[in-house]
Protein backbone atom coordinates (compact mmCIF):
# COMPACT_ATOMS: atom_id res chain seq x y z
CA UNK A 1 0.00 0.00 0.00
CA UNK A 2 1.14 3.51 -0.78
CA UNK A 3 2.33 5.36 2.30
CA UNK A 4 1.43 8.94 3.10
CA UNK A 5 1.67 11.53 5.81
CA UNK A 6 -0.05 14.87 6.23
CA UNK A 7 0.05 18.23 8.00
CA UNK A 8 -3.01 20.35 8.59
CA UNK A 9 -3.99 23.68 10.04
CA UNK A 10 -7.23 25.60 10.50
CA UNK A 11 -7.18 29.17 11.72
CA UNK A 12 -9.77 31.97 12.12
CA UNK A 13 -9.88 35.32 10.37
CA UNK A 14 -7.43 37.85 11.69
CA UNK A 15 -9.26 39.64 14.51
CA UNK A 16 -11.58 36.74 15.31
CA UNK A 17 -11.31 34.33 18.24
CA UNK A 18 -10.37 30.67 17.72
CA UNK A 19 -13.91 29.55 18.60
CA UNK A 20 -15.26 31.83 15.85
CA UNK A 21 -13.50 29.81 13.15
CA UNK A 22 -16.33 28.39 11.02
CA UNK A 23 -14.08 26.13 8.96
CA UNK A 24 -13.91 22.53 9.93
CA UNK A 25 -11.63 19.65 9.18
CA UNK A 26 -11.75 15.85 9.10
CA UNK A 27 -8.43 14.05 9.14
CA UNK A 28 -7.42 10.45 9.83
CA UNK A 29 -6.10 9.34 13.20
CA UNK A 30 -2.50 8.08 13.53
CA UNK A 31 -3.62 4.46 13.37
CA UNK A 32 -5.95 5.06 10.42
CA UNK A 33 -3.22 6.64 8.32
CA UNK A 34 -0.90 3.77 9.19
CA UNK A 35 -3.20 0.78 8.75
CA UNK A 36 -6.40 1.66 6.88
CA UNK A 37 -6.79 1.15 3.16
CA UNK A 38 -9.30 4.00 2.79
CA UNK A 39 -8.26 7.30 4.29
CA UNK A 40 -10.68 10.22 4.41
CA UNK A 41 -10.05 13.95 4.59
CA UNK A 42 -12.69 16.70 4.45
CA UNK A 43 -12.83 20.46 4.87
CA UNK A 44 -15.81 22.76 5.14
CA UNK A 45 -16.08 26.55 5.10
CA UNK A 46 -18.99 28.55 6.56
CA UNK A 47 -20.72 31.44 4.80
CA UNK A 48 -20.11 34.60 6.84
CA UNK A 49 -23.75 35.52 7.01
CA UNK A 50 -25.16 32.28 8.43
CA UNK A 51 -25.37 31.21 12.08
CA UNK A 52 -24.72 27.83 13.69
CA UNK A 53 -22.26 27.30 10.84
CA UNK A 54 -19.68 25.74 13.11
CA UNK A 55 -22.13 23.02 14.14
CA UNK A 56 -23.23 22.45 10.54
CA UNK A 57 -19.66 22.15 9.25
CA UNK A 58 -18.80 19.86 12.14
CA UNK A 59 -21.65 17.51 11.23
CA UNK A 60 -20.75 17.65 7.53
CA UNK A 61 -17.09 16.73 7.88
CA UNK A 62 -17.71 14.10 10.54
CA UNK A 63 -20.54 12.72 8.36
CA UNK A 64 -18.00 12.19 5.58
CA UNK A 65 -16.21 9.69 7.78
CA UNK A 66 -19.01 7.13 7.89
CA UNK A 67 -21.78 8.21 5.52
CA UNK A 68 -22.09 7.80 1.77
CA UNK A 69 -21.57 10.93 -0.33
CA UNK A 70 -21.89 9.44 -3.82
CA UNK A 71 -24.28 10.94 -6.36
CA UNK A 72 -27.16 8.57 -5.63
CA UNK A 73 -27.02 8.94 -1.85
CA UNK A 74 -25.98 12.55 -1.40
CA UNK A 75 -29.44 14.09 -0.90
CA UNK A 76 -30.45 11.47 1.67
CA UNK A 77 -27.13 11.76 3.47
CA UNK A 78 -27.33 15.56 3.71
CA UNK A 79 -30.97 15.31 4.80
CA UNK A 80 -30.02 13.00 7.66
CA UNK A 81 -27.16 15.27 8.74
CA UNK A 82 -29.45 18.30 8.56
CA UNK A 83 -31.99 16.59 10.84
CA UNK A 84 -29.29 16.30 13.50
CA UNK A 85 -28.40 19.99 13.05
CA UNK A 86 -32.04 21.05 13.27
CA UNK A 87 -32.69 19.00 16.39
CA UNK A 88 -29.68 20.56 18.13
CA UNK A 89 -30.56 24.12 17.14
CA UNK A 90 -34.28 23.82 17.91
CA UNK A 91 -33.50 22.65 21.43
CA UNK A 92 -31.56 25.79 22.29
CA UNK A 93 -33.54 28.67 23.79
CA UNK A 94 -32.79 31.62 21.52
CA UNK A 95 -33.68 35.33 21.37
CA UNK A 96 -36.00 36.38 18.51
CA UNK A 97 -33.20 37.30 16.10
CA UNK A 98 -31.22 34.10 16.64
CA UNK A 99 -34.41 32.06 16.12
CA UNK A 100 -35.17 33.88 12.87
CA UNK A 101 -31.57 33.56 11.74
CA UNK A 102 -31.50 29.84 12.50
CA UNK A 103 -34.67 29.42 10.44
CA UNK A 104 -32.73 30.56 7.39
CA UNK A 105 -30.23 27.72 7.91
CA UNK A 106 -26.46 27.46 7.99
CA UNK A 107 -24.50 27.37 4.74
CA UNK A 108 -21.17 25.69 3.99
CA UNK A 109 -18.91 24.84 1.13
CA UNK A 110 -17.45 21.34 1.35
CA UNK A 111 -14.73 19.15 -0.09
CA UNK A 112 -14.18 15.50 0.81
CA UNK A 113 -11.32 13.27 -0.39
CA UNK A 114 -11.07 9.51 0.01
CA UNK A 115 -7.66 7.97 -0.68
CA UNK A 116 -7.47 4.30 -1.61
CA UNK A 117 -3.96 3.27 -0.59
CA UNK A 118 -4.30 -0.19 -2.08
CA UNK A 119 -5.13 1.10 -5.55
CA UNK A 120 -3.10 4.35 -5.35
CA UNK A 121 -6.15 6.39 -6.30
CA UNK A 122 -8.38 8.98 -4.76
CA UNK A 123 -11.89 10.24 -5.32
CA UNK A 124 -13.29 13.58 -4.24
CA UNK A 125 -16.56 15.46 -3.95
CA UNK A 126 -16.85 19.26 -3.87
CA UNK A 127 -19.71 21.67 -3.36
CA UNK A 128 -18.42 25.21 -3.67
CA UNK A 129 -14.94 26.64 -3.80
CA UNK A 130 -12.86 24.58 -1.36
CA UNK A 131 -10.12 23.31 -3.66
CA UNK A 132 -7.87 20.33 -4.24
CA UNK A 133 -4.46 20.65 -5.93
CA UNK A 134 -2.37 17.71 -7.13
CA UNK A 135 1.35 18.41 -7.56
CA UNK A 136 3.75 16.04 -9.31
CA UNK A 137 7.44 16.69 -9.93
CA UNK A 138 6.98 20.22 -8.57
CA UNK A 139 4.28 21.08 -11.13
CA UNK A 140 0.54 21.54 -10.63
CA UNK A 141 -0.96 18.75 -12.72
CA UNK A 142 -4.59 18.96 -11.60
CA UNK A 143 -7.00 21.12 -9.60
CA UNK A 144 -10.57 20.42 -8.55
CA UNK A 145 -13.25 21.78 -8.75
CA UNK A 146 -11.82 25.29 -9.31
CA UNK A 147 -9.58 25.67 -12.35
CA UNK A 148 -8.27 29.21 -12.04
CA UNK A 149 -8.24 32.36 -9.89
CA UNK A 150 -11.03 34.00 -11.89
CA UNK A 151 -13.52 31.37 -10.72
CA UNK A 152 -13.55 32.66 -7.14
CA UNK A 153 -16.40 35.05 -6.39
CA UNK A 154 -18.63 35.93 -3.46
CA UNK A 155 -21.38 33.47 -4.42
CA UNK A 156 -19.98 29.94 -4.20
CA UNK A 157 -22.17 26.84 -4.28
CA UNK A 158 -23.31 26.01 -0.75
CA UNK A 159 -24.86 23.19 1.26
CA UNK A 160 -27.79 24.37 3.39
CA UNK A 161 -28.66 22.84 6.75
CA UNK A 162 -32.34 23.18 5.78
CA UNK A 163 -33.29 20.94 2.84
CA UNK A 164 -36.11 23.21 1.61
CA UNK A 165 -33.57 25.98 0.97
CA UNK A 166 -31.17 23.66 -0.86
CA UNK A 167 -30.91 24.24 -4.58
CA UNK A 168 -30.33 21.11 -6.69
CA UNK A 169 -27.73 19.44 -4.54
CA UNK A 170 -27.07 16.74 -7.14
CA UNK A 171 -26.30 19.41 -9.75
CA UNK A 172 -24.13 21.47 -7.38
CA UNK A 173 -21.97 18.54 -6.30
CA UNK A 174 -18.92 17.83 -8.44
CA UNK A 175 -17.01 14.54 -8.40
CA UNK A 176 -13.60 13.42 -9.54
CA UNK A 177 -11.32 10.36 -9.32
CA UNK A 178 -7.59 10.27 -10.11
CA UNK A 179 -4.46 8.19 -9.72
CA UNK A 180 -1.70 8.87 -7.23
CA UNK A 181 1.95 8.50 -8.19
CA UNK A 182 4.88 8.15 -5.80
CA UNK A 183 5.99 11.51 -4.33
CA UNK A 184 2.76 13.27 -5.32
CA UNK A 185 1.59 16.08 -3.11
CA UNK A 186 -2.14 16.77 -2.62
CA UNK A 187 -3.22 20.08 -1.13
CA UNK A 188 -6.73 20.67 0.16
CA UNK A 189 -7.59 24.29 0.93
CA UNK A 190 -10.49 26.58 1.74
CA UNK A 191 -11.14 29.46 -0.66
CA UNK A 192 -8.92 32.28 0.64
CA UNK A 193 -5.69 30.26 0.59
CA UNK A 194 -6.76 28.34 -2.53
CA UNK A 195 -7.28 31.65 -4.37
CA UNK A 196 -3.77 32.71 -3.32
CA UNK A 197 -2.32 29.42 -4.64
CA UNK A 198 -3.96 30.01 -8.02
CA UNK A 199 -2.90 33.67 -8.11
CA UNK A 200 0.74 32.83 -7.38
CA UNK A 201 0.75 29.91 -9.79
CA UNK A 202 -0.70 32.07 -12.55
CA UNK A 203 2.19 34.53 -12.16
CA UNK A 204 4.74 31.74 -12.57
CA UNK A 205 5.41 30.94 -8.91
CA UNK A 206 5.23 27.56 -7.18
CA UNK A 207 3.34 28.45 -3.99
CA UNK A 208 3.21 24.81 -2.84
CA UNK A 209 6.94 25.11 -2.14
CA UNK A 210 6.32 27.90 0.40
CA UNK A 211 3.45 25.98 1.99
CA UNK A 212 5.48 22.76 2.20
CA UNK A 213 8.37 24.60 3.80
CA UNK A 214 6.11 26.38 6.30
CA UNK A 215 4.31 23.22 7.31
CA UNK A 216 7.60 21.39 7.84
CA UNK A 217 8.68 23.70 10.64
CA UNK A 218 8.55 22.24 14.11
CA UNK A 219 6.17 24.93 15.39
CA UNK A 220 4.42 25.17 12.04
CA UNK A 221 1.05 26.26 13.42
CA UNK A 222 2.54 29.46 14.86
CA UNK A 223 4.83 30.05 11.89
CA UNK A 224 2.08 29.49 9.35
CA UNK A 225 -0.33 31.77 11.22
CA UNK A 226 2.27 34.55 11.41
CA UNK A 227 3.03 34.18 7.70
CA UNK A 228 -0.71 34.15 6.88
CA UNK A 229 -1.43 37.25 8.98
CA UNK A 230 1.31 39.14 7.16
CA UNK A 231 -0.18 38.15 3.80
CA UNK A 232 -3.61 39.26 5.05
CA UNK A 233 -2.28 42.63 6.18
CA UNK A 234 -0.63 43.10 2.79
CA UNK A 235 -4.01 42.19 1.17
CA UNK A 236 -2.34 39.32 -0.65
CA UNK A 237 -4.69 36.82 0.99
CA UNK A 238 -8.32 37.65 1.81
CA UNK A 239 -8.99 37.92 5.53
CA UNK A 240 -11.08 34.79 5.95
CA UNK A 241 -10.95 31.59 7.98
CA UNK A 242 -8.25 29.38 6.48
CA UNK A 243 -7.96 25.60 6.45
CA UNK A 244 -5.15 23.77 4.72
CA UNK A 245 -4.10 20.12 4.48
CA UNK A 246 -0.91 18.92 2.74
CA UNK A 247 -0.76 15.19 2.02
CA UNK A 248 2.62 13.82 0.96
CA UNK A 249 2.86 10.41 -0.70
CA UNK A 250 5.97 8.25 -0.60
Amino acid sequence: MVKCNFKSITTPKLGNAIEENEDNILEPSKSEIQFDTLIRFAISDGATESSFSKEWSDFLVSGYKDKVFDKDSLSDTIKKISETWQSIVSNIELPWYAQQKAQTGALQTFLGVTINREESTYNAIAIGDCSLFQIRNDELIYSFPILNFEQFDSTPKLISSIPKYQKNLEELAEYTAKEIHPNDLIIIATDAIAAWIFKKKETGDKPWQDLSTLLNYEDYKTDFTNWLNNKRREHEIKNDDVTLILINFE
Binding site: K13, G15, E20, T48, E49, S51, F52, S53, K54, E55, P95, W96, Y97, A98, Q99, Q100, K101, T104, S154, P163, K164, N239, D240
Partner: protein
Protein backbone atom coordinates in the same frame (compact mmCIF):
# COMPACT_ATOMS: atom_id res chain seq x y z
CA UNK B 1 -9.67 52.51 -3.85
CA UNK B 2 -12.76 53.88 -2.10
CA UNK B 3 -15.57 51.82 -0.59
CA UNK B 4 -13.54 48.67 0.00
CA UNK B 5 -12.90 48.87 3.77
CA UNK B 6 -13.65 45.67 5.58
CA UNK B 7 -16.64 45.97 7.92
CA UNK B 8 -15.85 44.23 11.18
CA UNK B 9 -16.47 44.58 14.89
CA UNK B 10 -13.23 46.52 15.20
CA UNK B 11 -14.02 48.66 12.15
CA UNK B 12 -17.82 49.02 12.04
CA UNK B 13 -19.81 51.15 9.62
CA UNK B 14 -23.06 53.05 10.10
CA UNK B 15 -26.42 53.78 8.53
CA UNK B 16 -28.37 56.92 9.36
CA UNK B 17 -31.99 57.38 8.31
CA UNK B 18 -33.46 60.88 8.19
CA UNK B 19 -37.25 60.63 8.06
CA UNK B 20 -39.72 63.39 7.22
CA UNK B 21 -42.50 63.25 9.84
CA UNK B 22 -44.40 66.34 8.71
CA UNK B 23 -48.23 66.50 8.42
CA UNK B 24 -48.35 65.50 4.75
CA UNK B 25 -46.81 62.11 5.58
CA UNK B 26 -50.27 61.09 6.86
CA UNK B 27 -51.61 60.90 3.28
CA UNK B 28 -52.33 57.39 2.08
CA UNK B 29 -50.12 55.67 -0.50
CA UNK B 30 -52.58 54.79 -3.25
CA UNK B 31 -50.77 51.52 -4.00
CA UNK B 32 -50.39 50.42 -0.35
CA UNK B 33 -53.68 51.81 1.03
CA UNK B 34 -52.06 53.11 4.19
CA UNK B 35 -50.47 56.40 5.30
CA UNK B 36 -46.98 57.08 4.02
CA UNK B 37 -45.73 57.43 7.60
CA UNK B 38 -47.03 53.94 8.51
CA UNK B 39 -45.77 52.25 5.38
CA UNK B 40 -42.33 53.84 5.86
CA UNK B 41 -42.23 52.85 9.54
CA UNK B 42 -42.88 49.26 8.44
CA UNK B 43 -40.05 49.52 5.92
CA UNK B 44 -37.60 50.94 8.48
CA UNK B 45 -38.55 48.32 11.09
CA UNK B 46 -38.22 45.49 8.56
CA UNK B 47 -34.86 46.85 7.41
CA UNK B 48 -33.64 46.99 11.03
CA UNK B 49 -34.91 43.44 11.59
CA UNK B 50 -33.09 42.18 8.50
CA UNK B 51 -29.90 43.97 9.47
CA UNK B 52 -30.03 42.48 12.97
CA UNK B 53 -30.53 39.01 11.49
CA UNK B 54 -27.65 39.54 9.04
CA UNK B 55 -25.36 40.43 11.95
CA UNK B 56 -26.63 37.61 14.20
CA UNK B 57 -24.39 34.63 14.86
CA UNK B 58 -25.01 31.71 17.18
CA UNK B 59 -23.33 33.51 20.09
CA UNK B 60 -25.22 36.82 19.64
CA UNK B 61 -25.25 39.84 17.39
CA UNK B 62 -21.96 41.18 16.08
CA UNK B 63 -21.62 44.95 16.02
CA UNK B 64 -20.78 45.41 12.37
CA UNK B 65 -22.98 48.52 12.24
CA UNK B 66 -24.39 51.38 14.25
CA UNK B 67 -27.77 52.61 13.07
CA UNK B 68 -29.69 55.80 13.76
CA UNK B 69 -33.10 57.15 12.81
CA UNK B 70 -33.61 60.92 12.94
CA UNK B 71 -37.12 62.31 12.51
CA UNK B 72 -38.19 65.83 11.66
CA UNK B 73 -41.67 67.35 11.93
CA UNK B 74 -43.92 69.09 14.47
CA UNK B 75 -41.61 68.30 17.37
CA UNK B 76 -38.55 69.66 15.61
CA UNK B 77 -35.64 67.32 14.95
CA UNK B 78 -34.52 64.39 17.06
CA UNK B 79 -33.72 60.73 17.48
CA UNK B 80 -36.82 58.79 16.50
CA UNK B 81 -36.44 55.38 18.16
CA UNK B 82 -39.25 54.34 20.51
CA UNK B 83 -38.95 52.44 23.80
CA UNK B 84 -35.62 51.89 25.55
CA UNK B 85 -33.63 53.39 22.68
CA UNK B 86 -35.61 56.65 22.80
CA UNK B 87 -33.34 59.68 22.53
CA UNK B 88 -30.35 57.74 21.17
CA UNK B 89 -28.81 58.80 17.87
CA UNK B 90 -26.50 56.03 16.61
CA UNK B 91 -27.01 52.68 18.31
CA UNK B 92 -24.87 49.52 17.95
CA UNK B 93 -26.83 46.83 16.12
CA UNK B 94 -26.60 44.43 19.10
CA UNK B 95 -28.33 47.03 21.29
CA UNK B 96 -31.01 47.44 18.63
CA UNK B 97 -31.44 43.64 18.56
CA UNK B 98 -31.92 43.43 22.29
CA UNK B 99 -34.16 46.49 22.74
CA UNK B 100 -37.09 46.62 20.37
CA UNK B 101 -39.85 48.83 21.82
CA UNK B 102 -42.14 45.80 21.44
CA UNK B 103 -42.53 42.67 19.32
CA UNK B 104 -45.78 42.41 17.34
CA UNK B 105 -47.11 39.33 15.61
CA UNK B 106 -47.95 39.66 11.96
CA UNK B 107 -49.13 37.30 9.27
CA UNK B 108 -46.74 36.64 6.43
CA UNK B 109 -46.90 34.27 3.45
CA UNK B 110 -43.99 31.87 3.80
CA UNK B 111 -42.71 29.31 1.28
CA UNK B 112 -43.91 25.78 2.01
CA UNK B 113 -40.88 24.35 0.22
CA UNK B 114 -43.02 22.91 -2.56
CA UNK B 115 -43.60 26.05 -4.60
CA UNK B 116 -46.58 27.26 -2.58
CA UNK B 117 -47.12 29.87 0.12
CA UNK B 118 -48.69 29.38 3.54
CA UNK B 119 -49.82 32.19 5.87
CA UNK B 120 -47.64 32.07 8.98
CA UNK B 121 -47.53 34.20 12.10
CA UNK B 122 -44.15 35.88 12.41
CA UNK B 123 -42.57 38.08 15.05
CA UNK B 124 -42.22 41.67 13.90
CA UNK B 125 -40.10 43.83 16.21
CA UNK B 126 -40.88 47.55 16.36
CA UNK B 127 -38.24 50.17 17.06
CA UNK B 128 -39.72 53.09 15.19
CA UNK B 129 -43.34 54.29 15.33
CA UNK B 130 -45.01 56.42 12.67
CA UNK B 131 -45.91 60.01 13.40
CA UNK B 132 -46.88 62.85 11.06
CA UNK B 133 -47.70 66.43 11.91
CA UNK B 134 -46.40 69.97 11.57
CA UNK B 135 -43.78 71.48 9.28
CA UNK B 136 -40.68 70.20 7.51
CA UNK B 137 -37.49 71.39 9.27
CA UNK B 138 -35.23 69.64 6.78
CA UNK B 139 -32.33 72.07 7.14
CA UNK B 140 -32.09 71.54 10.88
CA UNK B 141 -32.38 67.75 10.36
CA UNK B 142 -29.30 67.84 8.12
CA UNK B 143 -27.47 70.14 10.50
CA UNK B 144 -27.94 67.63 13.32
CA UNK B 145 -27.08 64.72 11.02
CA UNK B 146 -23.83 66.44 10.10
CA UNK B 147 -22.94 66.64 13.76
CA UNK B 148 -23.83 62.95 14.37
CA UNK B 149 -21.82 61.76 11.36
CA UNK B 150 -18.84 64.00 12.26
CA UNK B 151 -18.81 62.40 15.72
CA UNK B 152 -18.96 58.91 14.20
CA UNK B 153 -16.14 59.60 11.73
CA UNK B 154 -14.02 61.05 14.48
CA UNK B 155 -14.34 57.76 16.36
CA UNK B 156 -14.12 55.57 13.24
CA UNK B 157 -11.77 57.32 10.81
CA UNK B 158 -11.10 54.23 8.66
CA UNK B 159 -14.64 52.85 8.47
CA UNK B 160 -16.58 51.90 5.40
CA UNK B 161 -18.23 55.33 4.86
CA UNK B 162 -21.62 55.99 6.48
CA UNK B 163 -24.68 55.68 4.27
CA UNK B 164 -27.33 58.33 5.02
CA UNK B 165 -30.83 57.73 3.68
CA UNK B 166 -33.17 60.70 3.69
CA UNK B 167 -36.86 60.11 2.93
CA UNK B 168 -39.22 63.06 2.41
CA UNK B 169 -42.43 64.04 0.63
CA UNK B 170 -42.26 67.79 0.91
CA UNK B 171 -40.34 71.02 0.79
CA UNK B 172 -38.17 72.30 3.59
CA UNK B 173 -39.93 74.88 5.76
CA UNK B 174 -36.83 76.12 7.61
CA UNK B 175 -34.69 77.27 4.69
CA UNK B 176 -32.59 75.70 1.95
CA UNK B 177 -30.79 72.60 3.24
CA UNK B 178 -28.40 72.30 0.27
CA UNK B 179 -25.37 73.64 2.12
CA UNK B 180 -25.89 71.15 4.93
CA UNK B 181 -26.31 68.33 2.40
CA UNK B 182 -23.09 69.33 0.67
CA UNK B 183 -21.33 69.52 4.01
CA UNK B 184 -22.55 66.01 4.77
CA UNK B 185 -21.35 64.48 1.51
CA UNK B 186 -18.00 66.25 1.89
CA UNK B 187 -17.38 64.35 5.13
CA UNK B 188 -15.29 61.24 4.66
CA UNK B 189 -13.39 58.39 6.22
CA UNK B 190 -10.10 57.18 4.76
CA UNK B 191 -12.25 54.81 2.63
CA UNK B 192 -14.37 57.46 0.91
CA UNK B 193 -17.07 60.10 1.28
CA UNK B 194 -20.38 59.77 3.07
CA UNK B 195 -23.07 58.54 0.69
CA UNK B 196 -26.36 60.47 0.81
CA UNK B 197 -29.60 59.13 -0.66
CA UNK B 198 -32.36 61.70 -1.19
CA UNK B 199 -35.57 59.73 -1.63
CA UNK B 200 -38.64 61.77 -2.44
CA UNK B 201 -41.88 59.87 -2.08
CA UNK B 202 -45.35 60.58 -3.36
CA UNK B 203 -48.76 59.15 -2.48
CA UNK B 204 -49.75 58.81 -6.14
CA UNK B 205 -46.30 58.26 -7.60
CA UNK B 206 -46.97 60.52 -10.60
CA UNK B 207 -44.04 60.68 -13.05
CA UNK B 208 -41.54 58.85 -10.85
CA UNK B 209 -37.81 59.25 -11.51
CA UNK B 210 -35.34 56.69 -10.25
CA UNK B 211 -31.57 57.24 -10.01
CA UNK B 212 -31.32 59.72 -12.91
CA UNK B 213 -27.99 60.97 -14.24
CA UNK B 214 -26.85 64.48 -15.17
CA UNK B 215 -28.98 64.52 -18.31
CA UNK B 216 -32.28 64.57 -16.39
CA UNK B 217 -34.79 67.42 -16.69
CA UNK B 218 -36.28 68.13 -13.28
CA UNK B 219 -39.66 69.82 -12.78
CA UNK B 220 -38.78 72.43 -10.15
CA UNK B 221 -36.13 73.99 -7.92
CA UNK B 222 -37.06 71.75 -5.05
CA UNK B 223 -36.35 68.53 -6.93
CA UNK B 224 -33.18 70.11 -8.33
CA UNK B 225 -32.03 70.76 -4.76
CA UNK B 226 -32.62 67.12 -3.73
CA UNK B 227 -30.89 65.91 -6.90
CA UNK B 228 -27.92 68.21 -6.38
CA UNK B 229 -27.57 67.25 -2.70
CA UNK B 230 -27.63 63.48 -3.33
CA UNK B 231 -24.37 61.57 -3.85
CA UNK B 232 -23.48 60.01 -7.16
CA UNK B 233 -24.10 56.28 -6.81
CA UNK B 234 -20.73 54.59 -6.34
CA UNK B 235 -19.87 51.82 -8.76
CA UNK B 236 -20.49 49.01 -6.24
CA UNK B 237 -24.04 50.26 -5.65
CA UNK B 238 -24.74 50.51 -9.38
CA UNK B 239 -23.59 46.89 -9.61
CA UNK B 240 -26.11 45.86 -6.94
CA UNK B 241 -28.80 47.83 -8.79
CA UNK B 242 -27.91 45.94 -11.96
CA UNK B 243 -27.47 42.44 -10.51
CA UNK B 244 -30.29 42.42 -7.98
CA UNK B 245 -32.83 44.79 -9.51
CA UNK B 246 -32.00 44.69 -13.23
CA UNK B 247 -31.52 48.48 -13.23
CA UNK B 248 -28.92 49.54 -15.76
CA UNK B 249 -27.94 52.97 -14.50
CA UNK B 250 -25.71 55.55 -16.13
CA UNK B 251 -22.26 56.32 -14.71
CA UNK B 252 -23.58 59.66 -13.46
CA UNK B 253 -26.66 58.11 -11.73
CA UNK B 254 -27.48 59.84 -8.47
CA UNK B 255 -28.70 58.32 -5.21
CA UNK B 256 -31.94 60.12 -5.84
CA UNK B 257 -35.58 59.18 -6.37
CA UNK B 258 -38.44 61.57 -7.20
CA UNK B 259 -42.15 60.79 -6.68
CA UNK B 260 -41.29 57.22 -5.65
CA UNK B 261 -43.99 54.88 -4.41
CA UNK B 262 -43.24 52.63 -1.45
CA UNK B 263 -41.77 49.90 -3.66
CA UNK B 264 -39.28 52.28 -5.26
CA UNK B 265 -38.30 53.59 -1.81
CA UNK B 266 -37.68 49.99 -0.67
CA UNK B 267 -35.54 49.32 -3.76
CA UNK B 268 -33.45 52.42 -3.07
CA UNK B 269 -32.95 51.43 0.59
CA UNK B 270 -31.91 47.95 -0.52
CA UNK B 271 -29.36 49.39 -2.93
CA UNK B 272 -28.07 51.68 -0.20
CA UNK B 273 -27.76 49.05 2.49
CA UNK B 274 -27.28 45.67 0.83
CA UNK B 275 -24.11 46.46 -1.08
CA UNK B 276 -21.89 46.97 1.93
CA UNK B 277 -23.07 43.73 3.57
CA UNK B 278 -20.72 41.91 1.20
CA UNK B 279 -17.82 43.54 3.03
CA UNK B 280 -18.83 42.12 6.42
CA UNK B 281 -16.10 39.98 7.97
Amino acid sequence: MAYTAEISRTNPSCFLFIIDQSGSMSDNYVSAGKPKSEALADVINRMLQQLVIKCAKSEGVRDYYNVGVIGYGANGVGAAFSGNLSGKNLVPISEIANHPARIEERTKNVSDGAGGLVPTTVKFPIWFDPTSSGGTPMKEAFKQSNSIIAGWLNQNPHCFPPVVIHITDGESTDGDPIEEMEKLTAQSSSDGNVILFNLHTNARSTNPLSFPGQEVQLPDQYSEMLFKGASSLPNFMREVASKEFSLNLSDSAKAFVMNGDIDLIITAIEIGTRASLQLMR
